[in-house]
């Protein structure tokens, strides 16, 4: 992380709150609206099918429970990465950042496997309304996880290069806010799509 960015972490603001953190929370607020609209789309349309396959024929609860657990644990690792960087322990900061990204990749791998399985069972984006609303909702979430993984790996590389230090704890915290938001969205989707179907 550059000196300029490091200096920004402790910048003066009129509110007394970091502007970048304020911007991230505003972004997360807007993301609530985005996922709200996608959830409405799924809840209204997933049962309005003229042909199968239907949700109960495809959704694999044990498998998705494992990937849900992986994403939950990645949230723990993210917060541990932040606390490590905050106290200046960059060795463990790097370890937890990398582990968070790896667990994110495992979750994405599970999603790719699930999409592939559904496709081979005859469910495509245009097969029926369940397929369309399911792939759009979980696909958007998966895209957010992918962005988070790239972000985490970028921070890891910066940390390895010695450009992410204790002075940049706010940068790691903001990354964590995004990652935890992706996690809370999945907490909702896991129940609405898989357990209540």
């Amino acid at each position: 992380m550059s000196e300029g960015v490091a200096a920004m972490d402790a910048e003066y603001t009129s509110t007394g709150l970091p502007n970048r953190k304020m911007a991230m929370w505003a972004f997360i607020g807007s993301e609530c609206m985005l996922f709200g609209s996608l959830i409405i789309n799924y809840l209204i349309n997933h049962r309005r099918n003229l042909q199968g396959p239907y949700p109960e024929e495809l959704l694999n609860i044990p498998f998705i429970t494992v990937t849900t657990f992986v994403l939950l644990m990645s949230s723990l690792m993210m917060v541990l990465a932040f606390t490590a960087v905050e106290r200046g322990d960059m060795r463990w900061g790097k370890v937890w950042l990398l582990m968070t990204a790896v667990f994110g990749l495992i979750f994405l791998g599970g999603q790719v496997y699930e999409f592939n399985h559904f496709y081979h069972e005859g469910l495509g984006l245009s097969t029926n309304l369940f397929g369309a609303s399911f792939f759009i909702l979980t696909g958007f979430h998966g895209a957010h996880v992918a962005v988070g993984v790239i972000w985490l790996l970028s921070l890891f590389v910066l940390a390895v290069m010695g450009r992410l230090t204790q002075r940049n704890a706010l940068t790691v915290e903001i990354t964590g806010l995004y990652w935890h938001f992706v996690d809370v969205v999945w907490i909702v989707l896991f129940v609405l799509i898989y357990l209540m179907s």
Binding site: T15, L17, W25, G29, I40, F69, L76, L80, V188
Partner: protein, 103 residues
């Protein structure tokens, strides 16, 4: 657990975060167990929504630090969240999800 430091309260300890993660794991296991218990089917939806809300709250309060941070951040998050939930409920009502006329 949390200590005062700088412009806002400091965050919790590593042990505390691990305890929160364990609670989240237990709640997730409870969600899946409830799903497989047949006699709970009539009350499945409220139970699952309650458990999901508990997990959501724990992550937002402790992992996202809303419990320790400025209330401004809580407002920036909760405001749009309330609007999103209200729109979801309104749309479900509009499409007859609560009266059995959906579809």
């Amino acid at each position: 657990m949390a200590e005062e430091s700088g412009p806002h309260k400091a965050h919790a300890s590593t042990r505390f975060y691990v305890v929160i993660a364990l609670i989240l794991t237990v709640i997730t296991a409870a969600e899946v167990m409830v799903f497989y218990v047949e006699y709970l089917e009539p009350v499945l939806v409220p139970i699952l929504l309650g458990l999901a809300a508990a997990k959501f709250t724990l992550v937002a309060m402790f992992f996202m630090h809303l419990r320790f941070d400025s209330k401004v951040f809580t407002g920036l998050f909760i405001g749009p969240l309330i609007i999103a939930v209200a729109v979801i409920v309104a749309m479900l009502a509009l499409y007859g999800a609560f009266t059995g006329t959906a579809g």
